[in-house]
Amino acid sequence: MKAFQYVTATSPASARELAGGDGRFLAGGMDLLSEMKEYITQPKTLVNIKSLPGLNQIESSPSTWSIGANVTIAEIEDHPELKKVFPGLQQAAAEVGSRQIRNLGTVGGNLAQHSRCWYYRHRDVLCLKKGGDMCYARHGDNRYHSLFTGNTCISPVVSNLAVALGALGANVIVQKAEKPQSMTIAELYAEAWHNPEAHNSLEPGDLILKVELPVRQQRSAYLQMSQKSDFDWALVSCAAAAKVDGNKLSQARIVLGVVSNVPYQVEAANKFLEGKELDDATIAKAADLLLEKAHVQPFNGYKIPIARTLIRRVLLQLKA
């Protein structure tokens, strides 16, 4: 990798300042260091944020749970209370990489991780996402790519946590300019929908501080399908959360992962489920609404039946 400066930040504001325009924040380093080794990212400065105060805590109040950006994925996976209150989040965490990766990888890093597209990650392919002039995946092997995009790049966002947090209506607190700002999951990724070079909406120097989850007495679930049983990226993932009264859903929210450059949500599908009982026809209609605008590439059409299956299985888990 290219030589860089290494500095340690003591506060979010100093972290921003130290990072400047071309620095990056180092927490678990699972994604960042591998990009640096491949020369995909060549930051001038690495700002160590591991010792920022308060970022490694999980806290709860009657209305909100707050998970610091430096909390590891394994800590979420192992947290007995979180598992009870937000089972969908715990399931999403448990499916991230391997246990070794979960021990180091953090919430902030998982949300801000970059595309896994095999063209983007290839050291000798200069694709659109890296500032090149074409999306190789559109013309090549797109088996792992998106069904929905607002631009030419079809590399999907792969964060498991984003999918679960999206369904749970979480907000992400980001240190932007002088003060922390709250963003929805949709807002955190909106930029990637139309900008091929973006992985998310974070601007240089923006630092994820924590995630806040509203306590809504909801049930939640997350499922993913991979090629292998374990330690493999999802081909498609799906999370849902809703209040379940008897058999009736309210405030339902479904999110699909690894099918778009954003955690994919369709408001019409969520609205449709309001007050509905979960039967086969309702589930099929919700899946139709979610997948209506899918744009299948030559090698990723199999993602549609997997997505339909996951939508059904996740919704049925809410009922159970």
Partner: protein
């Protein structure tokens, strides 16, 4: 004729590996662990182009990078590179980062040339040629026997199918590479190799050195699977870097490199037609196939094999056959011998069509095989395996299990030569009773050292841990390359001969009638000051060749997601006299896992626009993981009268075919292409949404 002792204590036992403690504690030094004084890192610059004319490579800037001690070209002058990853230059330096910086500073002037990386594109006459002087598609080799067309008309049932297998990468856990020290006195190479002799020969040839100046050492080795016989381009580069830098150079390939230029199993596209008479006897067979071995087969491996052809109709005897097999060159790294070259590929196509025939004729697949397989050993194995696996209870009509997750079973058979000869070995027996056995074989991790210790222990009446075994050095008596599952059959008789002679000689010199076991120490004491040294060599009658095996697979397939889970594999394998049961079973386990990888996960993916390998890592070149491992039941047919045979290769052959047959049995429809991915399962089930019209145009 010599024969193995009747009373075997250690031979055939579950004794642990003699080097297990060294491996577990990290005391074992692999080639990649060796660190001679003053060693440097070595790294290779590779072509970024799938095909290009290289007009100039400037190493000036690289040589000036701090820490760089040598920078050399792979070859002088203009050249044409024919695949992404071909070696261009190499550097040696005091740190990995210095080498990386140096590689990035090398200027290469290249004129890009048109290329082709997919078999079906390459076949097309209008595509770019890999080699100017001949078309990409070779003239098929045709083999004909009997009257095929007439024979098909005589068949009661005829089935046809199209089967494809991907290019599979060897990916041994220890990558290819060497640590080499070349001084005026000569050259020492610590090589990760399957053939210390062939590396010695290759380096001496490539570097114009006398063979008595080249020593190759491979004490511990992390797997090769057929891709590690010669020194390779990386070996010669390491040697030249060492000479230029006047220091030892360690040049181990990266995982990325490993996917590009050091071998693979060729792909196959097989159109098969098979017919049987009404009694279920195979009567006519036709195969048309092509596949790619990259820019050509062989590469710099002396392992042989590696071409795109494969045996057909594999293990079956069909009176009327027509076989046409062609190879297609593409701009990608060469194939090399890969664990049972040709056989897993052949087995997948042939055993798939056998099950199609069984289904169409409503014959139980095991019965169809017993009826048509000429090998009595395999017939016996099918009966035994079926019983053990519970075939009769488990085999149901294809696609008949209820619910979205369907269960299926399948089976397949394999053959392999094995055998081996020619090994020599020597022993020093010391007055203090200690003993050292030296043999110029190498232990790929298969357990060769343990095999030697167990045999010696039985013949001398000692414990295996009393035997100090040294292998992997060209200064020891020669053995041969470890390929073709020949090592044990070649080494074991030599150790038998050596130890028998040693015992005779010790008894003679000590004047004791029986120097075995409890008398050993007393006998040795009588040797005086000097050790007794003895030589032995391979003898006829203690080994043979020809190993048959069958496997049964049980799978669950989720028809809503396409996910395949292998639940159980039963393997019945003939290996003659099993010397080390533990390491033998370990070979079976490894072979089956590799077979499951071939069935479900592994596939080198090339990009037609850039010409690069898209998955040069373990993230997207998927290998079997812990959670993917099924229950494995191993039955080793005990046939000591056959002597030692060798089973490293046959055990990986039938796995993929058995799994594919089990998937077809579960679904009631066949996935004809490996690997059997969720995408392929959903496609044959008709659930995949096809391409949107507008994106179709662009591709």
């Amino acid at each position: 004729m010599p024969s193995w002792p009747e009373n075997r204590v250690h031979i055939g036992s579950h004794a642990k590996r003699i080097d297990a403690p060294a491996k577990v504690t990290g005391a074992a030094k692999y080639s990649s662990d060796v660190q001679p004084d003053g060693w440097l890192y070595g790294m290779i610059l590779r072509s970024k182009w799938a095909k290009a004319k290289i007009t100039k490579i400037n190493l000036d800037k690289a040589s000036k990078v701090p820490g760089i001690k040598a920078a050399i070209l792979d070859r002088e002058g203009e050249r044409t590179v024919r695949y992404y990853g071909e070696e261009l230059a190499a550097v040696a330096g005091t740190s990995k980062q210095a080498c990386l910086d140096a590689l990035r500073s090398i200027d290469v002037e290249a004129k890009e040339l048109p290329f082709v990386v997919h078999e079906d594109d390459a076949k097309d006459e209008s595509s770019a040629r890999v080699w100017d002087d001949h078309p990409n598609l070779s003239k098929p080799r045709v083999r004909e026997q009997g009257e095929v067309d007439k024979a098909f008309s005589e068949c009661a049932t005829v089935v046809e199918g199209f089967f494809t297998t991907p290019v599979q990468l060897h990916h041994p856990l220890e990558t290819h590479g060497n640590t080499i020290s070349w001084t005026d006195e000569g050259l020492t190479a610590w090589s990760s190799t399957q053939g210390i002799g062939s590396v010695q020969d290759g380096l001496a040839n490539n570097l114009k050195l006398q063979q008595n100046r080249v020593r190759v050492i491979s004490e511990f080795m992390g797997g090769g699977f057929g891709a590690k016989f010669g020194p390779g381009v990386e070996g010669s580069l390491a040697a030249r870097l060492s000479q230029a830098a006047k220091a030892p150079v360690k040049l181990m390939l990266t995982r990325f490199d490993e996917a590009l230029a050091v071998g693979n199993r060729p792909s196959s596209f097989q159109k098969i037609k098979l017919g049987a008479t009404s009694d279920g006897k195979l009567h006519a067979f036709e195969l048309e196939s092509y596949g790619t071995a990259g820019i050509g087969s062989g590469g710099s491996s002396e392992g042989g094999g590696g071409g795109a052809e494969f045996p057909a109709p594999y293990i079956y005897k069909v009176p009327n056959i027509r076989v046409k097999q062609a190879g297609v060159t593409i701009n990608a790294g060469s194939a090399r011998a890969f664990r049972a070259p040709g056989h897993p590929t052949a087995s997948f196509g042939m055993e798939s069509i056998m099950d199609e025939l069984a289904a169409k004729m409503s014959i139980d697949p095991v019965e169809l095989r017993i009826k048509n397989d000429p090998s009595e050993v395999r017939q016996k194995e099918y009966r035994l395996g079926a019983e053990r696996f519970g075939w009769k209870e488990k085999y149901k009509k294809a696609g008949s299990s209820a619910g979205p997750i369907k269960t299926g079973v399948g089976c397949a058979g394999a053959t392999w030569g094995g055998g081996g000869k020619g090994t020599k070995a020597e022993a020093s027996i010391n007055p203090d009773g200690s003993i050292e056995i030296r043999c110029g074989t190498q232990d790929l991790g298969t357990g060769s050292k343990t095999v030697i210790a167990l045999i010696a222990a039985d013949i001398l009446g000692l414990k295996p841990e009393q035997i100090l075994v040294r292998v992997g050095d060209t200064r020891y008596p020669p053995s041969g390359g470890s390929g073709g599952s020949t090592t044990t059959a070649s080494v074991a008789p030599a150790i038998y001969d050596l130890c028998t002679k040693a015992l005779d000689e010790l008894q003679k010199q000590s004047g004791m009638e029986n120097a075995r076991g409890e008398n050993w120490a007393a006998a040795c004491k009588k040797l005086g000051v000097n050790p007794l040294t003895v030589s032995g060599q391979w003898q006829e009658g203690l080994s043979s060749s020809g190993a048959g095996g069958v496997q049964f697979a049980e799978v669950d397939v989720d028809t809503e997601t396409g996910f395949v889970k292998v639940k159980k594999i039963t393997c019945v394998q003939d290996g003659g006299l099993i010397v080390s049961k533990l390491t033998c079973e370990s070979q079976v386990n490894g072979g089956i896992l590799m077979g499951i990888g071939y069935a479900l996960y592994e596939e080198r993916v090339m990009d037609k626009t850039s010409g690069v390998v898209l998955n040069p890592n373990f993230e997207t070149y998927k290998l079997v993981g812990l959670s993917d491992i099924p229950e494995i039941d191993i039955v080793l047919l005990d046939m000591p009268e056959r002597g030692v045979i060798g089973i490293g290769e046959p055990v990986t052959i039938p796995t993929a075919a058995a799994v594919a047959n089990a998937v077809a049995n579960a679904l009631g429809v066949r996935v004809g292409g490996l690997p059997i991915t969720p995408a392929r399962v959903l496609e044959v089930l008709g659930k995949t949404k096809t391409t949107s019209e507008d994106s179709k145009e662009k591709v």
